[in-house]
Symmetry: C2
Subunit: 205 residues, 2 copies
Amino acid sequence: MKLDLNIKKPTTRNAKNTFAEIERGAIKLFYERGYHNTTVANITAEAGVAAGTFYLYFPSKIVLYQHILGVFSYNIRKYIAERVSEKNTRYEKEREGIRSFFEYMIENPEMYNIIWEALYIDYNLFRQYYQTFADRYVVGLEEAKKNDEIRDLDSEVIAYILMGITNFVGLKILFDLGNNNIDIEKIIDVIMEFLEKGLFKENAH
Amino acid sequence: MKLDLNIKKPTTRNAKNTFAEIERGAIKLFYERGYHNTTVANITAEAGVAAGTFYLYFPSKIVLYQHILGVFSYNIRKYIAERVSEKNTRYEKEREGIRSFFEYMIENPEMYNIIWEALYIDYNLFRQYYQTFADRYVVGLEEAKKNDEIRDLDSEVIAYILMGITNFVGLKILFDLGNNNIDIEKIIDVIMEFLEKGLFKENAH
DNA sequence: TCAATAAATGAACAATCATTCATCTTATGA
DNA sequence: TCATAAGATGAATGATTGTTCATTTATTGA
């Protein structure tokens, strides 16, 4: 499934550094200005190398983007999975999943913009990213159902519901990141109470 | 608050048609190819007018985008508000809000891409769009709290939770729109049961 | 009917930018 | 040490595209 992007890996130590600098510069600029407002010349200038150097490693600008998306996609899944696997109940796993998503997002605010931008750069990659994320989620939810931990609701719909909650509350957190008075734990508390008891009171209808 | 985009409104009937054709062509192409892969020449060709005609009405390509975003933003809010106001309980309002969001989205799949793309074209407009949407939501939620219909949770967080749910489940629906066996009512049932009782069973932790 | 105004045209312009390539520099390993 | 390969350079290229403008056509109101 891992598609070959035709990227040339550097061998010498200096070259590895050059490659990493191009990655770093691209992530910074794609985040700050978006893919289309970032030129290859911008990236190489940020990386401190000549324009032509870019094409030693990447056959095109779009391939660099696809590569970076792949790296982020892998890293966030790994980050979350490692922390969730430490917990035992679905409730604790869910809480930890949400917390680690927010953590990763705050440490790597570039990820957000870069992943969403796939919708306008490579639609299939965008769709695949979320569908893969959802598929993994479904596995955990089905297991929790077997253990009688969660209600018997369509797991795929629930997966998208939970991704929607974390992504949009995450968006709000990014909006407010300038303000120093955001309390992430308090926000997670609200989400968890919502997941526990729902929105409506018993007499609501 | 309504910002002046410096758009020239047409006066004669023919000119009104030209203006509408440019709007229509732009929406079609922004949806199909994205903003950056759509040229002004593409838009005028789609509209069946000469390239220069574009600048009779819009001072630049970006202003046309901002104009279209404003139209969608207004239309979807109006569409939902009209239907929600017919309902009495918060439960019924919520269900109708979700349903009408999906309805509008399926009828106007362009809206989704065009609004999200704001993140890469005009960040402030993007942020303003969601914050305005959330602010409206908060008003309704606060009222429902007073009526003891919903739990006492932070209304702004809940607003982003609910927007996240509708947007991401909506995304899933758009992914699957090719398949003819999607049952929207069933998906809404899942969301509503989730909102009623939460995700976890009583004995979950 | 006929000036005055509005609408429309499309070739030309100027700027941008992804990519190439001939040349030079550095590293490697036998 | 030295031949070979890998890494790096940056000016040049060619294609694209947002915008302008001199000119032509259509509409309007008196």
